[in-house]
């Protein structure tokens, strides 16, 4: 085999690991459509596993990386692991650069002159602001190593004191004159864990995300909040010019860190005959450092948990990869297949009706007119499905109705990226071109917020921005168009195939796709796993491969700092498949349902979790909130109502339903 191998590559090219406050973890999906079981027993997972450990703590989700050998023609020869190699040495470099990065003020309003923590190491590029970067350095784990490598770093180092705007909200301190700066002291945060490296039984790499900690290092502490809601609303003091106090302040809270990260994954393999192969260039021996080859090495991103693991967002990062690299789209040129290309979109749309009040049809605007059971938007009903799978002219009106309801991204090419050029760190200007000026089509689908941000908020701020609602990608819309015109084959419902049952040659792509399928590909405000930078070809060497010269941590740095404030804030029509807006209780006998807000309960002070100002409460609540999973019949099948899968909340930590005083009195 050794003589035939011309290259090795790691898959997935971009991996996704998710935070959890438990020390236990499970491995994320490795084939499209597979919802993995979290392990353990007596739980609601697909195979009876539990998302929580015995202490009710939320398990982390790990990403497994595998190595594949290719011949000169790009044919997959084998997966390389301890079965067929002498040794494997993994090299990982991740960082958290959020505190050092540019402030996030919406993708269209990006301003390279506005930094987070602007008083610390001012005037430098983000990568140069080393006091604000959590950098564990290069870490390795090799065959035979049985203990995990914990990647740790420090942040806010070497800073004694500074000043922050007096309009910020502080814990236990109210400035006498908010118009004057407040002096704060800094205490460095040390030993922050960004993740762990483990090896599985065959020396594949398991990247385990961090425990989800966040903290403020200043005294007095800056409260995680949106000060513009109380100081000079709607956009804060100084006409909203300061991203620390304006309407985007909760993305850029000074003095805060979180333990998400991103960065590069490489491997050097020594075959049984002693041949050394590496995903890095210029490697001759197993321990050579070499240089990064972006076509062969991989990337890891860590992100908050996905609380509805069976549901997919209608536009995923996978869709964005193919939007940016249409030449890599595997179904290009193929006849549209209903069950492969259309039906999954309808399933996603209908599933929103179990996690979003608007999609459920329980708000005044959408009452009984959305995607819930027996509602006109139940695209999975028998009547609709009969029409949708009928290519004849008889059903064309129904198909055209669906296509005509779909929104296209603004601009002549229908691509989000066109309105956001040039890429950061340049200031975007293309959206100001007349071709992107269009009325907001709030009646079209999907009725979820877009990268331009909520229309109501933009109106309040006087912003005229494109893409205020989410649009499908052109590849997705092209399939719907073909289908609406009758140019399609029906196909059969897809049955997900586990990785080990796939032909060898199909495994790499299965890994690449499955890591990104259960993610959020818009609206990017800024995103929840990967920021809007995923839409730019410039940042990638090819599909699924982060480009050379991209520093570890620099892409994820565009996400909210810390993530919990944004995660709380996005409580309506953003990405309810990751962060549900509402959850239902279902009465099987009566086929009726009632809902509650997903973010509810008591905080650590005994106050109810807020629907209007819960930024800081998410810090406490996130690992206790419930999972949204299919309700099962006695025989293990999913409960259906009007052909929809019924979803309800499971494994919510009961501690969240009791104020702390009550907990103490019961002990």
């Amino acid at each position: 085999m050794a003589e035939d191998i011309k290259s090795i590559r790691i898959h997935p090219g971009i991996g996704m690991a998710r935070l959890g406050n438990s020390d236990e973890f499970f491995i994320g999906p490795e084939a499209p459509g597979i919802v993995v079981d979290p392990g353990g027993k007596n739980g609601p997972g697909p195979n009876g596993g539990s998302y929580r450990d015995s202490k009710m703590q939320l398990k982390r989700q790990a990403q497994r990386f595998r190595v594949y050998a290719y011949d000169a023609n790009g044919k997959v020869l084998a997966e390389l692991n301890s079965d067929n190699v002498q040794s494997m040495r993994w090299r990982v470099h991740v960082r958290n650069m959020k505190a050092a990065n540019y402030a996030f003020q919406g993708a269209y309003l990006f301003d390279p002159d506005k930094l987070r923590n602007p008083g610390i190491q001012p005037g430098l590029k983000p990568i140069e602001r080393t006091q604000l970067i959590i950098d564990p350095g290069v870490q390795t784990i090799a065959s035979g190593q049985t203990t995990p490598v914990v990647m740790q770093g420090d942040v806010f180092t070497g800073i004694d004191k500074g000043t922050l705007p007096g309009q910020l909200r502080f814990e236990g301190f109210t400035p006498k004159d908010p118009s004057k700066p407040v002096e704060v002291t800094y205490k460095p945060a040390k030993g922050i864990e960004l993740g762990q490296l483990h090896l599985d039984s065959k020396d594949r790499l398991l990247f385990v995300a961090a425990p989800g900690k966040s903290e403020c290092v200043t005294t007095p502490k800056v409260a995680l909040s949106n000060p513009s809601e109380t100081v000079n609303p709607p956009n804060g003091p100084n006409n909203g010019e300061d991203p620390l106090t304006n309407q985007f302040a909760y993305f850029n809270v000074p003095g805060w860190w979180d333990d998400t990260c991103g960065g590069e994954i490489d491997v050097t393999v020594t075959l049984k005959d002693g041949t050394v192969l590496s995903t890095r260039d210029n490697v001759k021996t197993a321990t050579d450092e070499g240089t990064r080859n972006p076509h062969a090495g991989a990337w890891i991103v860590t992100a908050p948990p996905k609380y509805a693991p069976h549901m997919y967002h209608v536009v995923s990062i996978l869709d964005r990869v193919y939007e940016a690299f249409p030449e890599s789209y595997p179904n290009a040129g193929k006849t549209t297949n209903f069950y492969r290309d259309i039906y999954p979109l309808f399933v996603s749309a209908v599933n929103y009706g179990w996690v979003s009040a608007q999609a459920a049809g329980v708000t005044s605007e959408t009452k009984d007119a959305a995607h819930g059971p027996r509602q006109p938007g139940n695209l999975l009903s028998k009547e609709y499905m009969a029409a949708f799978t009928d290519p004849s002219e008889n059903s064309e009106p129904a198909r055209e109705m669906v296509y005509n309801l779909m929104r296209h991204a603004d601009g002549p090419n229908g691509r989000l990226v066109d309105s956001l050029m040039p890429p950061p760190p340049a200031r975007p200007t293309s959206f100001k071109n007349p071709e992107f000026k269009r009325e907001v089509e709030d009646f079209k689908m999907p009725k979820l917020w877009g990268t331009g941000g909520k229309p109501e908020q933009n109106k309040e701020l006087g912003n005229d921005l494109p893409d205020q609602f989410l649009s499908l990608t052109n590849l997705q819309l092209q399939h719907i168009k073909e289908w609406s015109e009758g140019n399609f084959e029906v196909g059969v419902p897809l049955k997900p195939v586990p990785l080990e049952q796939l032909p060898l040659g199909e495994q790499p792509r299965a890994l690449d796709e499955s890591a990104l399928e259960p993610t959020i590909g818009g609206g990017f405000h800024p995103g929840i796993e990967f920021p809007y930078l995923i839409i730019y070809r410039e940042f990638f060497a090819e599909a699924f491969r982060v480009n050379k010269g991209i520093e570890p941590g620099s892409l994820s740095a565009y996400m909210s700092s810390p993530w919990q404030g944004d995660f709380w804030s996005c409580n309506t029509a953003w990405w309810p498949t990751q962060r549900p807006d509402i959850v239902f209780e279902y009465d099987k006998t009566k086929q009726t349902r009632t809902y509650k807000e997903w973010f509810r309960g008591y905080d650590e002070k005994g106050e109810p979790l807020s629907s209007t100002d819960g930024y800081d409460q998410m810090l406490y609540a996130w690992p206790k909130l419930g999972m949204v999973l299919p309700v099962k019949n006695a025989d293990g099948s999913d409960v259906k109502d009007d052909d929809e899968t019924v979803y309800a909340e499971f494994e919510r930590d009961p501690a969240l339903s009791r104020p702390p005083a009550t907990k103490q009195s019961k002990q």
Binding site: A357, V362, T363, S364, K367, I582, E585, T592, R593, T594, Y595, K596, E597, W598, F599, R600, G601, Y602, E607, P608, L609, S610, S611, T612, G614, S657, R658, P659, T662
Partner: protein
């Protein structure tokens, strides 16, 4: 109590559903006393979410009953400890 009941009926009419009548507060010698509307509102928000609001309440027979509203939807709910609530009836059907 009468005022609360009138609000309750008005709310029901607005939602076009018939919600169950509360037990007569004065008829029960074991009525929970001392739980104020703010106590109940706090419990409702913690149990159902901050967007839910308390529209009416009564206490009788060791139970607290409340009419709550969210986005035009009404629930009649009951609790014996102000921690765990049961939805007795709902405008959602």
């Amino acid at each position: 109590m009468d005022i609360m009941r009138r609000h309750f009926v008005k709310g029901c009419a607005a939602a076009s559903v018939a919600l169950p009548a509360f037990p007569a507060f004065a008829a029960s010698p074991t009525a929970v006393v001392g739980k104020t509307a703010p106590d109940i509102e706090k419990s409702i928000k913690a149990s159902f979410g901050g967007g839910f609001s308390l529209k009416a309440h009564a206490q009788a027979g060791g139970q607290t009953y409340a009419n709550i509203e969210h986005a035009g939807n009404w629930y009649a709910v009951a609790s014996e400890n102000l921690l765990d609530w049961t939805i007795v009836q709902s405008s959602l059907g």
